[in-house]
Symmetry: C2
Subunit: 307 residues, 2 copies
């Protein structure tokens, strides 16, 4: 039975200034998955390790994503079996569901000799996101599949771009183990914004993207500002302001909410800075009594990879 | 008496997806100005040719911009005399006031042996914009001073960036000679927008900036979409939809409102395309009985220049 083992990376969506459009992919933080061809047609989840997630194909994000892929191919004969070795905690805000969806469709596509490009796979992985959060967003699955920093220019029609990735960028992520469901976190976001704040936001997104292409780390830092979503969502995250301020005081270019939270990211130039930031924000969370994980990760330029 | 003659270029602000933040500078379309040092302290407008504009320094955009520059230098002894040879029509939407403000401060700075960088001059030229429209916007003065495509990442603090400019871009501009005052045109813009539209807009701005850095002309075209301002303002511009559609049908990458209008811009790859677009939209306006100008211009990478 032909099979493929893959690393399905964690991702940081939104990145302060790019709500619903910007994301980046992490090295070293992610799940493992084993995807196998089977003689029995259909998609089955045969094993889930490390998390209490549904084995039913139509209730599992990896399952529905692969079903969407096979449906597009009008393929009714292929059998796919999926084993998931979950390391990213569900509800962490670093793309747990996206990793499973992206890993599954990427591996399936490989096993079928690549009928789709990585960019074309995004829409199938988005079906997993639709199941997970009720919203087929692409800001985690796009970086998980393409690697690096990605932009969802448009959802209708879907237009996803891989942006340039400066070499020396590192993410420090702290995941406070409190439950903030994506669906709940979306509810606190108001449906209207002032044009003035929207202009501030798109000025910053423009600056961030220019910074990615010019390797201008200071500009990246100046652009890491969110005047719309962060003020609403950060109240759900204990010690958010203190973590953010401390990260910047300790050399981070900027910090903000990872995806819909509760994880907080800090972006730094160089691994040394990122480690220093990790130490400083760890000290804050140690005082709270809330369990937490901390990751320091370089930017993953490749996305899902065979291992 | 030491003096400097300059070309003060026209500019296109907003460029569909970058309301209040994006702009670009044009070759061949603009004013001429003669700025001279004088032994008599203070700033004087000594001649205006081609337009009926105030000679009083504090009522003239070039005058107030230079006054702001000298004030920052705490310079009470320098005398500056300004002659303006106006070729850009006021109220055209291609940065008429910005050209005068930018040209005047750029030439004054040269005559004073460059105490400021071009980027630092933006804030003085913005004082001219404040006088012209009641709003010290930078999306025309920044490209007029820096050249190429520019982004106002932030107004507070002011942070203006020069972006990359693909070589083969041309603007076709049609200026219908109807009066749409900047102040009036701002009034039709509603103070709040839906978050959904704001996300669409910043996705497009991100795509446009990525397109500038990767010389991806198709991406630039796909990103030239304005779901917020254009629907409100385009009703003030006769034949807007027909001109836009015709421009795109004739090979333009995209089209939209230049600044606050009434000029309409179309962006094309290559001069031949831009000329073809000019011919096609000229045919539309010829039927209206409305007087109009048409310009075809490459992107001016330098901004204000000595001539």
């Amino acid at each position: 039975m032909k099979s493929l083992k893959v690393f399905a990376p964690a991702t940081v969506a939104n990145i302060s200034c790019g709500f619903d459009v910007l994301g980046c992919c992490l090295n070293g933080v992610g799940d493992e998955m084993l995807i196998s061809l089977s003689d029995t047609p259909g998609v089955r989840i045969t094993k889930i390790d490390g998390a209490d997630l549904p084995l039913e194909t139509d209730k599992n994000v990896a399952g529905v994503a692969v079903v969407a892929l096979l449906k597009e191919l009008k393929d009714t004969t292929t059998g796919i079996e999926i084993e998931i070795y979950k390391k990213i905690k569900a509800g962490s805000g670093i793309g747990s569901s996206a990793a499973s969806s992206a890993g599954a469709v990427w591996a399936t596509n490989e096993l079928l000799n690549n009928p789709f490009t990585a960019t074309q796979l995004v829409k199938f992985a988005m079906e997993g996101e639709r199941l997970a959060s009720g919203n087929a967003h692409a800001d985690n699955v796009a970086p998980a599949l393409l690697g690096g920093f990605t932009l969802v220019r448009s959802y209708n029609p879907l237009d996803v771009l891989k942006l340039n990735t400066p070499e020396d960028l590192y993410m420090t992520i702290i995941h406070p183990q409190i439950e903030v469901k994506t669906a709940d976190s979306r509810k606190v976001v108001k449906p209207n914004v002032s044009l003035k704040k929207a202009i501030t936001q798109w000025g910053n997104l423009g600056g961030f993207i220019a910074g990615l292409y010019t390797n201008d780390y200071d500009l990246l830092g100046r652009s890491l500002e969110d005047v719309i979503i962060e003020p609403m969502r950060s109240i759900l995250i204990p010690k958010f302001e203190e973590v953010k301020t401390t990260a910047i005081e300790n050399g981070a270019l900027g910090a903000g909410i990872s995806g819909s939270g509760p994880s907080i990211f800090a972006l730094s130039k160089g691994k040394e800075n990122a480690n220093k930031v990790a130490k400083a924000i760890e000290a804050i969370y140690t005082t709270t009594g809330i369990a937490f994980d901390i990751h320091v990760a370089s930017i993953n330029a490749n996305g899902v990879t065979a291992i």
